[in-house]
């Protein structure tokens, strides 16, 4: 059974958190790919610095052991080493900062006209989603609540504390704009494999733009302490092929909200 479980875990898609996970989830958007790449780039410098500092440390401990060198040399300054240890760290910081800022600003700016706008509104303790591009006249927007499925209602294979009753259905390979806000206290709309974590602040509308590159089901959780049931406010985004999206929205979601 354990072997079966282990096998299942290794083949399960990585768009939700896994037990003992150390790295990031697989990227589903260019932003997340950028974040993972930046992490790897910075880690390269991190390892270099770590090895260098450890080497200096061990060397100092070894050579200036009290038995080895009872009276250390009384050197108080050295111009060369002081110049070097000022310039090199600043260069390293620059090498880290440049790609970091490039990524930060590219994430912030909405460059492309989004094809679809979805509003995610945080509540204590569920998310409400509004699809507002679909009204023909003065009718109400397509709105639905997304509650967590409680543990006793879970079916085999569903993830505890992550599954919701109504998923956010989005088309894959389409520029999406998500407007995040809150109705009561601050929440945070986060989907790790999309590289998105956006605070939902009451009275403020935050916009994020994403482009989901592959179809799949992406799991996230509320990421701002929002009260007792903060842990039970998951987010599930389901990216479907573009050709199926219209029918998914019109057939599945609309009857659930009682609108035709």
């Amino acid at each position: 059974m354990i072997v079966l479980k282990w096998l299942f875990l290794t083949i399960s898609p990585c768009d939700a958190a896994e037990p003992w996970q150390l790295g990031s989830q697989d990227a589903a958007t260019p932003i997340m790919q950028g974040i993972i790449d930046l992490h790897h780039d910075i880690f390269f410098f991190l390892i270099l610095i770590l090895v260098f500092v450890l080497w200096i440390l061990v060397r100092a401990l070894w050579h200036f052991h009290y038995k080895e060198n009872a009276i250390p040399q009384r050197i108080v300054h050295g111009t060369t080493i002081e110049i070097l240890r000022t310039i090199f760290p600043s260069l390293i910081s620059m090498f880290i900062a440049i790609p970091s800022f490039a990524l930060l600003y590219s994430m912030d700016e909405v460059v492309v006209d989004p094809a679809i706008t979805i509003k995610a509104i945080g509540h204590q303790w569920y998310w409400t989603y509004e699809y507002s591009d679909y009204n023909s006249s003065d009718e109400q927007s397509l709105t639905f609540d997304s509650y967590m499925i409680p543990e006793e209602d879970l079916e085999l294979g569903q993830s505890r504390l992550l599954e919701v009753d109504n998923r956010v259905v989005v088309p894959a390979k389409t520029h999406l704009r998500i407007i995040v806000t809150s109705a009561d206290v601050p929440h945070s709309w986060a989907v790790p494999s999309s590289g998105v974590k956006c605070d939902a602040v009451p009275g403020r509308l935050n916009q994020i733009s994403i482009l989901v590159q592959r179809e799949g089901v992406y799991y996230g959780q509320c990421s701002e302490i929002c009260g007792t049931n903060h842990a039970f406010t998951p987010i599930v985004v389901e990216a479907v092929p573009r050709k199926d999206y219209g029918s998914r929205v019109s057939n599945q979601l609309i009857p659930q909200t009682g609108e035709a």
Binding site: D108, E109, V110, D113, P114, A115, I116, T117, K119, I121, E130, S132, D133, Y134, N135, S136, Q140, S141, T143, P171, K173, T174, H175, R177, I179, T181, A183, C198, G203, R204, L205, N206, Q207, I208, L211, R242, K243, Y245, G246, S247, V249, S250
Partner: protein, 126 residues
């Protein structure tokens, strides 16, 4: 596999320049950037189907004033624009503005502003 039919992985493979020069290996094909096609036009749910804005590719609610994360003013601006339009011109012309408001603003916010507008307490004049 014929030469015209290219193995998809072949695009990615590195080239041995000397082999390419001798004609033993095909050169790397020109890179064509990926495309993102517009949403389908034939769905009844899409705004394009309404025939209001000529089936444009996007909902074009992007405003050059509001390119960053904070869109709070964007929503309010659109709302005020819509009502300014309603007061000034024929209602039919304002449909796209109404759609922008609907796209940008949460329903509860618009409802609140509608109430404020009716009671004359909206913190801005139309």
């Amino acid at each position: 596999m014929s030469s015209a039919q290219m193995d998809p992985h072949d695009k990615m493979r590195s080239r041995d320049l000397s082999k390419v020069a001798k004609g033993q290996q095909a050169p790397r094909p020109a890179h064509s950037p990926g495309t993102v096609s517009p949403p389908p036009q034939n769905e009844t749910t899409f705004r394009a189907k309404r025939g209001e804005d000529g089936g444009g590719e996007t909902d074009s609610v992007r405003d050059d004033l509001f390119l960053v994360t904070n869109e709070t003013r964007h929503c309010f601006n659109r709302y005020m624009q819509y009502h300014r339009c309603l007061e000034g011109r024929d209602t039919n012309d304002c449909n796209s503005l109404r759609d922008y408001v609907r796209t940008m603003c949460p329903e509860t916010l618009v409802e609140k502003w509608e109430e404020q507008r009716k009671s004359g307490t909206l913190p801005s004049s139309v």
